[in-house]
Symmetry: C2
Subunit: 401 residues, 2 copies
């Protein structure tokens, strides 16, 4: 039996990207950090300080750029002039030299722009445990500063320079009157051979306060980048920055338009998911608390049995339902209802008769819905997960040697 | 690329099995529950009440036989005359009819043996959500009662009648003076299509109290059946019974000889692991507590990235080490030391130079050791995990439709 390699999905370019946002310029250049010669240094700049909220990995091995960006964001009270990114090297597990290198990247950009050091953030993504080739990084930063532009093409070059093993570019954008909400991200799992991973930048030009951005960030992350699962393995470099240039009066419902941009980006990460063939959105309702609901979603999403069933279009409710019974905070799964693609397959301790062939056919889609309805309270959660197929094993079992 | 199907490992029969234990008789018969026609009703009997300790699944969807056996063990204060098992049907998610069927199985055995109802335990394993074919079960129990024997062959028939999708029989036994310690188990993951799974029976004839058995059970389980991971998916039927007929004076070190029997059985479960090619024993030391150590081992063992690296013989320390950083209770993974097959690959925040090709070669074994040494306290843990390869996906992505 040969390994079915799923075709790389082709999504049309988004109508808007980061440089569509008023006040943003971007660049992406080839600095030679990646052996492939692909673009690997990216720069995002606003002429006036942007208001920024940041969400960083909770991994105790957080990389040097994560630690530094967190400090800068605190020192600048959320005001940011630029974000500099390199791909091809995560600058993680690189000791004190790694810290010095991250700092130098920020300093070089701050000097070029003539702004305070703490208004520059830095992100790295790529291989762990290898020191940055700083000669190349310096030249890359200088070239990126020169090529900054507000063109759509510059936005696309920025995106290509943050990618690593991504199978396709990930961007999304919408316009709401004069305001633009747009974002790009990279990531497809913690990624081979020892990559460190998710970076997401979502920007807008609506005029809202730093406080409003921070509040929105928490809500938006909970249904997007904090609600995506590929392989139970948060990386050392995960970073999500939410930025606004504040150049356009904010519509009342700005957050309702920003959230879907982030959610779409997170969906694209799950869709890439190293050989994934679909994204399954798990919705849990009626749990005793939101935390209990999250635990249910996480238990189901992280089961290799569940994820191989999703890959095989197998409406195997026993796997979904029995995993709910393993969640400590669930009090009475006996009242559970389980729906797969809208088809009820289980209710209150006994199977609901259903047409398995039709359910299997309904699962052979790019978007699959799995609903788990408890009867214990008002807690709810959403989680997007990739399936687990042959290609995941192939990608991840390869030698790094 | 074709899917490499790992050869089924062949282990020589153990020198001792359950019926080698003084006072035990066993049977295994074909009752027709399994479509394959393989043996599917097993019976284990002691002429005098055995002293028994039981460990059952914590899944909230625990099957009817689990709930009943737990009650019987309490009511009988750990005295047991018989254990009746059927395979091919888990009697899980089967409602009140399922409860009545489990009770009837115990009643039929109790009547045949002339013993109190609560001295009979029952286990089921197989497909979830299908009612037991009680006509066949009744005839199977009657036949098993007639065929009870203390022969080694009867012990082997017992073992074959508890198996479901196991690729090979799992038994182990040792003798210590006049005393025998022997056990059998079944299980290879939560198992396709929606099987419910691990059963383990370890018996001895040493004369120790019920209290001593219960204490030993907790310690033994922590390094055997509670320390084995295949797919992050505890089932509805998991049961481990530790039994003694108390016919031989107990040597002082009886527990030290019983524990390896259980550990070997657990190792065999991980080795089966649905297409597994090896068992990796993760040893965590120096954690702030045993719970913290367990959390580290579990985080590492359940990462699909880690398990595919193990399958690929990939000494990819970034995956092992970064996952330690995701454990909430770890205070300073910066001091972590990581050893793979005895080779140090990481120490205190930076990679240790090592020969990757040699390390990869060292990983191409049936038994792999992964050591994670923290510097935070005296907490330690051990976990045996199967690797994750193509065959796992193939087995688990197949239609049940």
């Amino acid at each position: 039996m040969s390994i079915p390699v799923p075709p790389v999905p082709a999504f049309p370019p988004a109508p808007y990207t980061l440089t569509s946002v008023k006040g943003l310029r971007a660049a992406g250049v080839r600095a030679g950090i990646k052996a492939s010669g692909n673009p690997d240094v990216a720069l995002l700049v606003s002429d006036a300080p942007m208001t920024c909220a940041g969400l960083f990995t909770k991994n105790h091995f957080a990389a040097a750029p994560v630690l530094l960006s967190r400090r800068h964001l605190e020192a600048s009270k959320g005001l940011v002039r630029a974000v500099v990114i390199n791909s091809g090297n995560a600058n993680a597990c690189t000791g004190t030299q790694g810290e010095a290198d991250a700092l130098e990247m920020c300093q070089r950009v701050a000097t070029a722009l003539g702004c305070p050091l703490e208004q520059v953030l830095v992100c790295s993504t790529g291989v762990i445990g290898v020191k940055l080739p700083m000669e190349k990084v310096r030249a890359g930063i200088d070239a990126a500063v020169k090529e900054l532009s507000a063109d759509v093409e510059a936005g696309r070059r920025f995106l290509s320079a943050i990618m690593t093993t991504d199978a396709f570019p990930k961007e999304h954008g919408v316009r709401l009157g004069d305001a633009t909400m747009a974002g790009v991200c990279k990531g497809a799992g913690m990624i081979q051979p020892d990559m460190a991973t998710m970076l997401a930048f979502v920007a807008t030009d609506v005029d809202v306060s730093a406080e409003a951005m921070r509040t929105a960030m928490g809500r938006i992350a909970s249904t997007s980048f904090n609600a995506v699962h590929v392989d139970t393995h948060p990386s050392t470099n995960d970073t999500f920055l939410l930025l606004t240039t504040r150049q356009v009066p904010a519509p009342a419902d700005w957050e309702q338009h920003l959230e879907p941009v982030a959610r779409r980006l997170a969906w694209l990460i799950a869709r890439d998911g190293e050989g994934a063939t679909k994204v399954t959105t798990i919705r849990v309702t009626g749990a005793s608390s939101d935390d209990a609901a999250k635990a249910v979603a996480r238990h189901v999403a992280t089961s290799a049995l569940v994820r191989t069933a999703l890959f095989g279009n197998d409406p195997n409710w026993g796997r979904f339902v029995s995993q709910v019974g393993n969640v400590h905070d669930v009090r009475s799964p006996q009242k559970l209802v389980c729906r797969l693609q809208g088809i009820e397959v289980f209710r209150a301790g006994e199977p609901t008769p259903f047409d398995r062939a039709a359910a299997s056919k309904a699962m052979a889609r790019e978007d699959v819905s799995l609903e788990l309805l408890l009867d214990e309270g008002r807690g709810h959660a959403l989680l997007m997960t990739s399936d687990l197929g042959y290609r995941y094993v192939q990608v991840n079992a390869e030698y790094t040697t």
